[in-house]
């Protein structure tokens, strides 16, 4: 168990290192272009050279990389060109907002998906199952920016009961909580379908497994068969995949944040990308990858804990 965790941690570190190297190569390999981006298109050649000299960019590539990665590990990603503030401070505020949105969405999505998925998987092929499946297919077919458009049309322009943007200009407060409704709705609608279908598939498979048949033919009450024999085995796979899906969720969160002008991590990254704010992009990418890799780690460990076949071998 500990051994497995250790192995996974090493893998995690390796992936992070590779990613950082790739990012560094992509953005900072050409230091002249970097200087141009930082100082703006109208800076002179002399200014750029001076900037490079002052910021230690004339050191060899490997040394630069290690300086950068060590600083990054300490949380120092440099200064944002666009906002002229330390990237770490920007990140902290925006990440918190994203965590609120993502956390809400994840909790709601998972709850809906588990209930619907189990209901549908128990009775594979029934009308209920078909209904839920079709609903899931339809909702996963509408991408976030499309469903946002449609929902805005309905709730903002037609019914006029919800705000169409979520800037949270006064910070995250209860009074503005209605600003969260649309973003959460958009993300839940897009994501619950996939989770539901996964839960359904797993449940349906377990329901046709021989050990469930054994349990039924042992004369156990139906409730016991479902709760004790089927559910636990059926939820192992969806659990791990849902956590793995966190980074897909993050993709959706970025789009939604952009659409609703929600001051989160996604909006920060998007604006940095449009502006060419390199240090912010690097930092955001590193953070996003870290979240993804870490969720993978959690999912692996969780899978091991849930599945005795792996736990004891």
């Amino acid at each position: 168990m500990i051994q497995l965790a250790g192995k996974r941690l090493v893998q995690m570190a390796l992936i992070m290192l590779t990613v950082s190297l790739l990012l560094f190569l992509a953005f900072e390999a050409d230091k002249y272009s970097l200087a141009g981006k930082v100082l703006g298109a109208y800076s002179t050649q002399d200014q750029r050279l001076l900037w490079l000299e002052e910021n230690g960019y004339n050191a060899p590539f490997v040394q630069r990389y290690f300086t950068w990665i060590i600083n990054a590990a300490r949380g120092d990603f440099g200064e944002s060109v666009q906002f002229a503030t330390p990237v770490s401070k920007l990140l902290k505020d925006h990440l918190l907002n994203t965590a609120v949105l993502g956390g809400l969405v994840f909790t709601i999505t998972v709850s809906i998906a588990l209930v619907l998925g189990v209901l549908s998987g128990i009775a594979e092929g029934s009308t209920r199952d078909r209904g839920i499946t079709v609903l899931a297919v339809i909702t996963t077919s509408v991408p976030e920016f499309a469903s946002a458009t449609i929902l805005v049309a309905i709730f903002v322009f037609w019914l006029d009961i919800l705000p169409g943007t979520s800037p949270f200009s006064n910070g995250l407060t209860w009074s503005d909580a209605n600003q969260l409704v649309l973003p959460v709705m958009v993300l839940v609608i897009y994501n619950f379908g996939y989770y539901t279908r996964m839960t359904r598939a797993s449940m349906a498979e377990v329901m046709t497994s021989q050990y469930v048949r054994t349990a039924i033919l042992k004369g156990l009450p139906y409730k016991r068969v479902i709760m004790r024999h089927a559910l636990r085995n059926a939820l192992i796979a969806p659990f791990t995949v849902m956590i793995l899906q966190l980074n897909y969720l993050l993709s959706g969160v970025i789009v939604t944040e952009v659409f609703f002008s929600y001051k989160g991590f996604g909006k920060l990254l998007y604006e940095a990308a449009l502006f060419g704010d390199i240090f912010v992009i690097e930092a955001c990418a590193m953070v996003a990858v870290f979240i993804a890799v870490f969720s993978q780690f959690v999912s692996d460990i969780g899978y091991t804990l849930l599945n005795p076949r792996i736990r004891f071998s």
Partner: protein
């Protein structure tokens, strides 16, 4: 629970019909099924795949799934029709009064629950007892199914115990609340032979120990014979024959049953002089069944206007009590003539040695990536998949490699075919060393000269390509065909060779039946003038009736082309039928090798002895010694020290077995055994399988007049006009069949004399007159077991020969000793142990 009424059947199926509903409409799976199971009785259901036998079991459990339904008839459990019961009543019965054991133990146990929980819940929900009480009962039950260390098993997850143990747990679970009826659906199919033997042993004792009635579903007639009192033979959704085991096995009255027995390799069948007779044609699909008799189109006794008019019903066989058959013409068939005929085939002569395997070794390096291993520096170790393999094969010879899973036979095949290279030793094909040459470095001729036939017909052909293109590709690869036209021409020739129509070249594998695919597989293997063909269990996945056809084909081609065949198998019956020489492997080592006759008669390696005794044989006239091996197959990753078989060997001598690898003893004629037992001890072994055609039978016949078992000495019997012998109920098979000598009526015994077995011929001729036979004494017979070395079994044999008293034995002269010794195949043990002296001493008391 109230004592069940002994006259009410536990289960009664009356005219049960079961259908599945699919897109194509209603598909009748089982039609008009009747069966009665009395208390304490064991009924077998036998049939090939797709005949509906498992459907019957699930219908009895009233568990038909979404698209299945019982469309007619009634299933009465203890007199009540189960179809009228509510879901709640059914739940109450399931698991407590009827329970079921399934084919795959691993899949039928919940992987994420402790075994403790899975056992206890049966009692908690059915009997409402406390957790502790339930645990106590569960442990008792685990003990009753002979699981060592029940407490440890209770605290394990299913994957932590072996397959054999899992099946015992499932059986324990089924027996926990003392059901009246136990359904067993192929309970041992997934297990290795020696493990299977233990489970079968257990199943046989169940009805005795718990008074449980059983329904045993299997495709294996041998297993049914060992476990059941009555048997139903199913074909294409119908029971075609029902009766007691002796009726169905010895006096079958349905052509399909006859066909089944003709197509399984029983001891005594011989591929040259008495080949198996396959059933022609193939099983009809459920929606393509013919009118009238389903077996009609495949039946040799089919008569237009009789067999294909209307649906047939079961009818009582006249003069056979309780024997029913679904055949209109059973009275018109000459049942003795329907037995297989001897064919004037002659044994093949072997040519020069083609293949030599000398001290071949194959080790795999296994990396242990645990931290502990890294620190201790033992990060990698070697698994010896093959250790010092040493044997030869001649032209036109069939060498069988026998062993259970993990014995290294597949690894050996890989080295032969160049998928792996040998770690040490040599593999010499036609004087050329090939053990180190991978397939990519071999010339096309070399590759073509060594080919393989695979096990699973459903995987042997690539589903994406036509049969023709797959064979054509092989022809081109081996350089046998230069261009497309030539390849097509040769493809047709190969299809002719395996007796398939030429237009099969255009077909895709999914349009072929299992047997047909296997034929294509054979054609492919012989495409490049193969000198050596490695056949990896080529028929084990096929139904018995198809098996016979494929084995027949294989033999014919091999004989015609004088190909050497390495036949890898775990099925000792098929091996006995097919092989000229046998190599027995266990955990990567050769335990014994020799001519087939030498392997199947003493002296044996103890492992061969156990294997032979474990193979179920579908012949009532055969008696077997039952040797049940303790423990489980060790993992090849972690083999035991010394002799690999020492952990399970019933003949283990002592420390020497644990410490030293035994030397290989050459017993002459190429018969080699690797064992610490001395040559004398090995030679002193008794035969595991006793056939009625052995000399013993003559004596037995004199002592115990009874009914004959026929299947074996068929060749000679076939001459006798078929007359029905009146049915005599078979004596209930004892739980442990000791060497009970079978009964044969004098007239048939006499007829059998000319059918002297090969085995007999090899031994020195003994006098026709045995020791004087005495009647059984009025008073008490002496306990002959007091003579050293005489067990209950031998005692019975001696009694059978007419010896009951010590003073009879005390009077033996040298010639008497020789005769008796030979009768018991002791090879001088009576002399060595000095029975006469012992008997004298005992007689004086």
């Amino acid at each position: 629970m109230a004592k069940p009424d002994m006259s009410t059947p536990v289960l009664e199926c009356n005219n049960v019909s079961i259908s599945y509903y699919t897109r194509a409409g209603e598909i009748p799976a089982v039609v008009d099924f009747n069966m009665k199971v009395m208390p304490g009785e064991a009924v077998g259901i036998v049939g090939e795949s797709g005949c509906g036998k498992s459907t019957v079991a699930l219908a009895i459990m009233q568990y038909m799934g979404k698209n299945g339904d019982i469309v007619g008839g009634e299933i009465k459990f203890m007199g009540r029709d189960m179809r009228t019961m509510s879901e709640e009543e059914l739940r109450d019965i399931r698991g407590s009064r009827i329970s079921m054991v399934y084919q795959e133990p691993m899949a039928s146990l919940n992987p994420s629950m402790l075994i403790k929980e899975q056992l206890n819940e049966v009692l908690i929900y059915h009997e409402g007892i406390s957790e502790e009480e339930a645990s106590k009962r569960s442990i008792e039950m685990l003990d009753a199914v002979r699981l060592p260390d029940p407490q440890r098993v209770m605290d394990s997850f299913p994957h932590q115990i072996s397959g054999g143990q899992q099946q015992r747990v499932v059986i324990a679970m089924a027996l926990l609340s003392k059901p009246q009826l136990l359904l067993l659906d192929e309970p041992t199919t997934a297990l290795d032979v020696t493990v299977e033997a233990g489970v079968v042993e257990l199943i046989k004792d169940i009805s005795k120990q718990f008074g449980t009635s059983m329904i045993y579903i299997s495709h294996n007639l041998g297993l049914i014979l060992e476990t059941c009192d009555k048997i139903a033979v199913m074909y294409s959704g119908e029971a075609v024959e029902f009766g007691s085991v002796s009726q169905v096995f010895d006096e079958m009255r349905h052509p399909y049953t006859r066909g089944l027995f003709n197509s399984i390799p029983l001891p005594g069948a011989d591929r040259y002089s008495r080949p198996l007779v396959p059933i022609r044609g193939q099983l009809p699909l459920p929606h393509e069944r013919p009118t009238g008799c389903n077996f009609g189109p495949r039946c040799d006794h089919f008569k237009d206007g009789v067999c294909n008019v209307e649906a047939l019903h079961m009818q009582d066989v006249s003069a056979h009590l309780g024997h029913q058959v679904r055949c209109e013409r059973y009275l018109n068939i000459d049942w003795e003539a329907a037995k297989p005929k001897a064919v004037a085939g002659e044994a093949i002569s072997y040519g020069k040695t083609i293949l030599q395997v000398k001290n071949m070794q194959k080790y795999y390096e296994v990396h242990d990536r645990s931290l502990k291993a890294l620190i201790s520096g033992k990060a990698s170790r070697f698994v010896k998949a093959n250790e010092k393999l040493d044997f030869e094969a001649r032209e036109a010879e069939t060498v069988a490699i026998v062993g259970e899973s993990g014995c290294g036979k597949s690894t050996f095949a890989k080295v032969m075919l160049g998928l792996e290279t040998a770690t040490g030793g040599e593999v010499i094909l036609n004087g050329q060393e090939i053990g180190q040459i991978t397939v990519h470095k071999r010339t096309p001729q070399m590759v073509g000269s060594m080919q393989m036939i695979f096990q699973n017909p459903f995987e042997t052909l690539n589903p994406s390509h036509t049969v023709g293109s797959q064979i054509g590709r092989v022809l081109r690869m081996f350089g046998v065909a230069k261009n497309k036209e030539e390849a097509l021409e040769k493809t047709y020739k190969l299809l002719d060779l395996v007796k398939l129509p030429r237009d099969f070249a255009m077909r895709r594998p999914r349009q072929l039946s299992g047997g047909q695919k296997q034929r294509v597989g054979i054609a492919r293997a012989f495409a490049g003038e193969a000198q050596v063909v490695v056949a990896d269990e080529p028929v084990s996945a096929l139904d018995v009736s198809v098996q016979a056809a494929v084995t027949g084909l294989l033999t014919d081609i091999q004989r015609e082309r004088r190909t050497t065949m390495l036949f890898i198998s775990h099925d000792l019956s098929v091996v006995r039928y097919l092989a000229d020489r046998v190599v027995v492997m266990y955990l990567g080592q050769i335990m014994e090798q020799g001519d087939t006759d030498d392997i199947y008669s003493p002296p044996y390696h103890p492992y061969t002895e156990a294997l032979l005794s474990a193979v179920p044989i579908a012949d009532t006239s055969i008696t077997k010694k039952h040797i049940v091996l303790e423990g489980e197959l060790p993992s090849p990753m972690n083999p035991p020290s010394g002799c690999p078989f020492q952990t399970r060997c019933p003949r283990k001598i002592g420390a020497v077995c644990e410490d030293e690898l035994p030397a290989v003893k050459d017993l002459g004629g190429g018969h080699k055994i690797m064992c610490h037992l001395s040559e004398e001890e090995l030679r002193a072994m008794e035969p595991v399988i006793a056939m009625p055609s052995d000399k013993k039978k003559k004596a037995a016949a004199a002592a115990n007049p009874g009914r004959a078992k026929a299947a074996l000495a068929a060749a000679s019997i076939a001459a006798i006009p078929g007359v029905d012998t009146p049915p005599v109920p078979r004596a209930k098979t004892a739980a442990k069949i000791e060497l009970t000598v079978k009964k044969a009526p004098p007239k048939k015994a006499a007829a059998k004399k000319p059918a002297a077995k090969k085995a007999t011929a090899k031994k020195p001729a003994t006098g026709k007159t045995g020791p004087e036979r005495l009647k059984k004494p009025r008073g008490k017979a002496d306990d002959l077991k007091q003579i050293s070395g005489v067990g209950p079994k031998l005692e019975q044999t001696l009694n059978g020969l007419g010896f009951w008293h010590f003073n009879q034995i005390a009077k033996w002269r040298k010639s008497d000793i020789a005769i008796v010794d030979d009768e018991l195949s002791f090879k001088g043990r009576i002399e060595r142990d000095d029975w006469v002296k012992q008997a004298k001493a005992l007689a004086r008391k």
